[in-house]
């Protein structure tokens, strides 16, 4: 039997509620104050910090509200590692929205990071060294090629 033969009615959250803002818990606007505080700390001491969005009682509508309020900045990076991760700067430079997905595409963790550059984007010296070895290999292949031609 095909799955769609099972009579399941999907009720979208927008139609669940009487009134527009009913699914907003009111917890999201408060977060803006905390983000502002963390941004001040970043400027004063250079110390990065993060807010764990999954650990807070936020409804999907709250998250949408916050995402919309913070907006989309100029930088967005995608990391492919055991599922996709997106790191995108909001319209407030230094405030990043970081979402980690697992291999099945489900959200594994979600943060707001207040930092100049998220740690995950920086290359590790050990990895850079491996990259350099690869470059050397490419270059030595070049000279071998030039000898043979």
């Amino acid at each position: 039997m095909p799955l769609d033969a099972i009579p399941v009615v999907v009720v979208h959250s927008a139609t669940n509620q009487i009134g527009d803002n009913a699914v907003l818990s009111g917890n999201a606007p408060v977060l803006l104050h905390e983000i502002a505080e963390l941004t001040r700390k970043l400027l004063d001491s250079g110390e990065s910090s993060a807010i764990d969005l999954r650990a807070l009682p936020l409804t999907p509508a709250d998250l949408d509200w916050l995402r919309e309020a913070l907006g989309q900045g100029q930088v967005a990076a995608t990391l492919e590692a055991e599922g996709e991760s997106t790191l995108s700067e909001t319209i407030c430079p230094g405030v990043w929205w970081v979402t980690h997905h697992n291999e099945n595409g489900a959200v594994a963790s979600e943060f707001i990071e207040v930092t100049f550059v998220p740690e995950l984007l920086k290359a590790h010296p050990d990895d850079v060294r491996i990259g350099l070895e690869h470059l050397d290999l490419l270059i030595s292949d070049l000279s071998n090629d030039s000898v043979s031609t």
Binding site: V11, P57, L79, N104, S109, F111, E119
Partner: protein
Amino acid sequence: MQGPLIDTLARQGVTRRAFMKYCATLASMMALPPAAGRAMAEAMAAAPAAAKRPSVIWLPFQECTGCTESITRSHSPSLEGLIFDAISLDYQETLMAAAGHQAEEALHAAMKANEGKYLLIVDGSIPLGLDGAYSCIAGKSNLEALKEAAKGAAAIVAMGSCAAYGGIPKANPNPTGAVSVSDIIKDKPIINIPGCPPIPVVMTGVLAHFLTFGSLPELDGKGRPKAFYGETIHDRCYRRPFYDQGKFAKTFDDEGARNGWCLFELGCKGPVTYNACATVKWNGGTSWPVESGHGCLGCSEPDFWDAGGFYKALSMPADPLKMVANAAVVGAAAGVAISFANRGKKSAAKSAHETTTLADLEK
């Protein structure tokens, strides 16, 4: 971040960034500051060669192997499994290749070589009835085996509701006299990880904490890691706003149920259950009981099986059956025949431990 583990990872095709991402998620689940994710990544990646890895001994007692299933079938085996690359799992009956005398030898060798330093994981309750004869391994009762293994342990992890609180084996009338680890062992640090089964990441998180900081994470009054059991299911439930608005599903197929309203009146034990299901979820973050439309059973709380019915709202008086059963015991002791049809039927069913019918569960 260097060391054998990061090399092992690379061979398995797991990049440094994937590992850092995993540790960040793990740390956030443990409610640790962001810096802890990095500390964890560094400590685990630098785990020394096999011979020097912290020894872990896992003893199964009166259990169903569900806890082991939960951990070994966690949704990202390559990464959750990594934690097991950073330890030396010296005895685990379900997973180890050795059997019989070989397995026993491995157990005793590990206990001797790592005396005072190994981490002991226990799943299952310990039966005290008939001198512990209800559950024995290699001719030894669980009680004896636990006492012997606990002696040289640095700390004990009571894994699952059975080891933590007695669990289902302890459910009324507790035929085997099942008790928890902490009922027996009083002189070692014990960390309870209740749940039936517990969430895999709670287990790996505790292991990661032990490996990184050499200590157990902060515990609450019931010996549970605060990071995962600090708040109730209800407090973190995405349906909580409906509770606050007084919107409840009254049956499993009414409009309220379809609209995803609060399941309190259908017996959800979320308000009295401390666990992380609402945030961590199950099956790789796919869903969890309340999201699937069923109330929380409260499986990580002591005596959840005898809490008065899964479908009875918390506001209903708990366990009216118990009062009837007590009356029956008194009656039997006095040699008085109980002739009230309903009462007699109920108490007979209870003492014979028959299947509970729907009528028993209803208010």
